[in-house]
Each structure stands twice: as C-alpha cells, then as structure tokens.
Symmetry: C2
Subunit: 237 residues, 2 copies
C-alpha cells in the first residue's frame, strides 16, 4: 500500500469497469428469443471471450496485421457461429451482435466510484478496446471519463509497453504519476514494470461462478481495494 497519490488513473475496462459476461448473455438471450434463433448463448459468450487473448496474441506476434478489437470480435464471432452450428444470422445480426461490446453494463460501483475519482484525478480507460467502442460504451453506461485511451491510439495491444507509456506521454505525465487500475494482476504487472502506480480490485464473478484466477492480488500493488468506490475512498475523494 502507498500514501502517494497519482495525477491520473487509467482503467482496464472489460471485466474491471463493465461486466461483459452478464451484459452479453442477457443481450444475446433476448436477441435470440426475438429473432427466434436457437443457440447456447452462455457458451457462445464464454467462447467469444475465450478467443480474446489468442486473437490479441496473433496481432501482438505479427501473425495478423493491426486491427481493432471490433474487427477481432467480428472475426471470432463468425468462426464460433459456424463451429456451434448457429443458423439464420444475417449480416445485420452479426454486426449488431459485435456491437454488443459497445453496450456493456457497468458493475454496480463503477459509475459512482468513477464520479468520485474524477473530482481529484484525471480518469481514463486504457483498454484494448478501440476508441469508438469505448466512447459508445461510456455514452451508454454513463462512464464519466475525462478522455478515452483506446489501443488504436497506439497501434499495439496491452501488455505492450507502448500502451502504458503512450498513455503517460499523452497525459504529459511521468509513468510514476499514472496509476493503472484493473481487476487483472497481469495488466498491473506489466504497468508496474514500466514504473506506473497500480491499483487492484477483484471482480470474482467476471468469468462466471467458477472463476479460478484474479480472485486476489498477486503482486505488491500501490493500492488494493474492494471495488472502485472503495478505491476512491482510499484515495481521499
């Protein structure tokens, strides 16, 4: 723990600020009922997110050219739909489903916590999502960001150093004046190695009821909180 305060706090978004799993399961279940399309929507959502890290790694390693998370989501959705034998989806359906990631809902503490933090700090997402996805999400979920940092600004995905250091550079701050806040220890580990401050809060049901990792801090992070409101409290705002 640390008494030092950052100037800016940048947040991981998927899982840390918004509950992608519940949001997408609810939305796709309703969508399927309305469109009368049969599928195991829970499995589709879990498998869709399961493709996230492998698809980022392909870009990271140069096996795929740079493309936005929207593009990666769309490509993995098409593969999964074919693999799971989901039939009857039109082009408009696939576009609508992919944009579901723009409509994710926040965890119960997120908006209130961010509003408090905004009073004392610059707050921004620092997400592998693209800027337009994050802006749509902020409009829909009322996330009061001061600015929006998506990885398309850097042409690299986290945990590439260019993302964390690029955020500090755009903010005109030293890395040590910026705090990465996330429910994922791996994100914080990469940020800390570059000199950023770090804040952890667990989201123990992000991956559903049987989540086995990121249930607790695994590093010596600057702050450990129970959620974003608790983080605001600890930071004195």
């Amino acid at each position: 723990m640390s008494g030092k305060l950052p100037r800016a706090i940048v947040f991981d978004v998927f899982g840390s600020v918004v509950d992608w799993r519940t949001s997408l399961i609810d939305e796709l279940t309703a969508f399927g009922a309305e469109r009368r399309i049969e599928a195991n929507w829970v499995k589709l959502v879990d498998d869709w997110r399961g493709e996230y890290i492998p698809s980022l790694k392909k870009v990271y390693k140069g096996e795929l050219p740079w493309m936005t998370l929207d593009d990666l989501h769309r490509a993995s959705l098409e593969t999964l739909v074919a693999g799971q034998g989901i039939e009857g989806l039109t082009e408009a359906d696939l576009a609508y489903m992919t944009r579901g990631w723009h409509r994710l809902k926040p965890w119960p503490d997120s908006v209130a916590g961010l509003r408090r933090l905004k009073q004392g700090f610059i707050i921004a997402p620092l997400s592998n999502g693209n800027v337009s996805l994050l802006v749509d999400m902020a409009k829909g979920a009322d996330l009061p960001w001061d600015l929006v940092l998506g990885c398309d600004l850097f042409g690299r995905y986290k945990p590439a150093p260019e993302t964390y250091l690029g955020a500090a550079r755009l903010l005109g701050l030293e890395p040590g004046e910026v705090m990465m806040a996330a429910a994922h220890n791996g994100d914080l580990k990469a940020a800390k190695a570059l000199g950023l401050m770090t804040a952890f809060f667990a989201r123990p049901t992000e991956y559903g009821p049987r989540q086995e990792y990121d249930l607790a801090p695994t590093g010596d992070w600057s702050y450990v909180a129970s959620d974003i409101e608790d983080l605001a409290r600890q930071l004195g705002v």
Copy 2:
C-alpha cells in the same frame, strides 16, 4: 443550412470554445503584479498568439520536427520575452506562463451549450492543442467532452487532412457523420473539403475589439449559429 444531423461534433477550441485572449491577459496581468515584473502583457499575449500560425506552418512544412503546442508556445514565449525586454522571469515563471494555455476560460455559452449537445451527440475537441493541454483545460473549465482529440494523436496540425479524417476514423464514423464546429472559416473550409459537416458561430472579440475577420460565415456551412447554445437549439437538443 441543413436538416441532416451528425453523429459526432468536433470543436475547434482556441477562440471557438475558450477566450484565450482575455484569459491570458487577466492571468498574466495578475502574475506580473504579484511577481513585480514589468511588461506590456496585452502586447505579449497578442504577439504570442501571433506566433501561433507561423510556428505551426514551420512544423507543417517540415522546417521544425513534430512538437506539441506546449513546446511551440514555450519556444515562442522565450523569443518574445527576449525581444520585448521583459526581465526577471525564472524557469518556473516561464513554465507557469506556458501552462496558462491549459487554464483558459470558456466563453459564457460554451459549457451550457456543450452540456446540451452531449445529450444528443458525441462531442470532442479537435484542436491543435495537445491532449494533456486539452484535458487540463477541460478539468479547469468544466468542459464535458466525451473524448479528447488533440493533434498529437495524429502527429499533424490542422488543417492537415490526417487530423479531420483521423478523428472520423477513431470515432468509427464516415467523414459525413462528423461535424466540425468552429469560429474560424478556414478550419471549416478544410473540413468541408474532406466531406465533414460544418457549423460556424462567430467570436467577434476573439482577437480583441478591432477584429477584422471571421466576423461572419464565408462558406456554405451546414449550420450557422450565434453561439454554442444556439447550435444546440438548432440541432434539437
């Protein structure tokens, strides 16, 4: 005039949203009195802004490498201070004065107008200012941007096409879905040539009581308003 609505509105900032001249004259006059430094602060401010276009052009033409507006402001300030024989300024003074551009005050209608527009549209600055300058300004002046687009994101200054088209690309929109809003006809001319929508509102005292240009629209802009609140009214929010 046009009945069509944009999806996003990007704003010129210096002169269009904030009153740089009055803000800096007030701040530097108070600063000079406190620091007991003799200068013609009005002349310094006018000459400082007078260096703006020439210094941008040097970057634009490649005579200077890319540098942020903060860097350009600092360089031109040093030249002017020497030329005007202003004495006694420390390094800290020069840094403070340069950061005066981060503390500019909005025109009376700006905050209320932007708040209204935010209800119906994505709103952002699209400014030659750097992101950190624009974020500091937004925090200080309560400008409710959805995201912050500074020209350091593109490594080019307006009116380079990369800035207007880069804004549309980051927003995931076609150029025709984005409206450039400014008190400067030249900015709108460049945006319109690339297919953006345009909105003009005059700021007849931006350059002081004897301003001779940008007093009225000189092109066929999508919207012409008296100020940002009037623009919101015309757009139905």
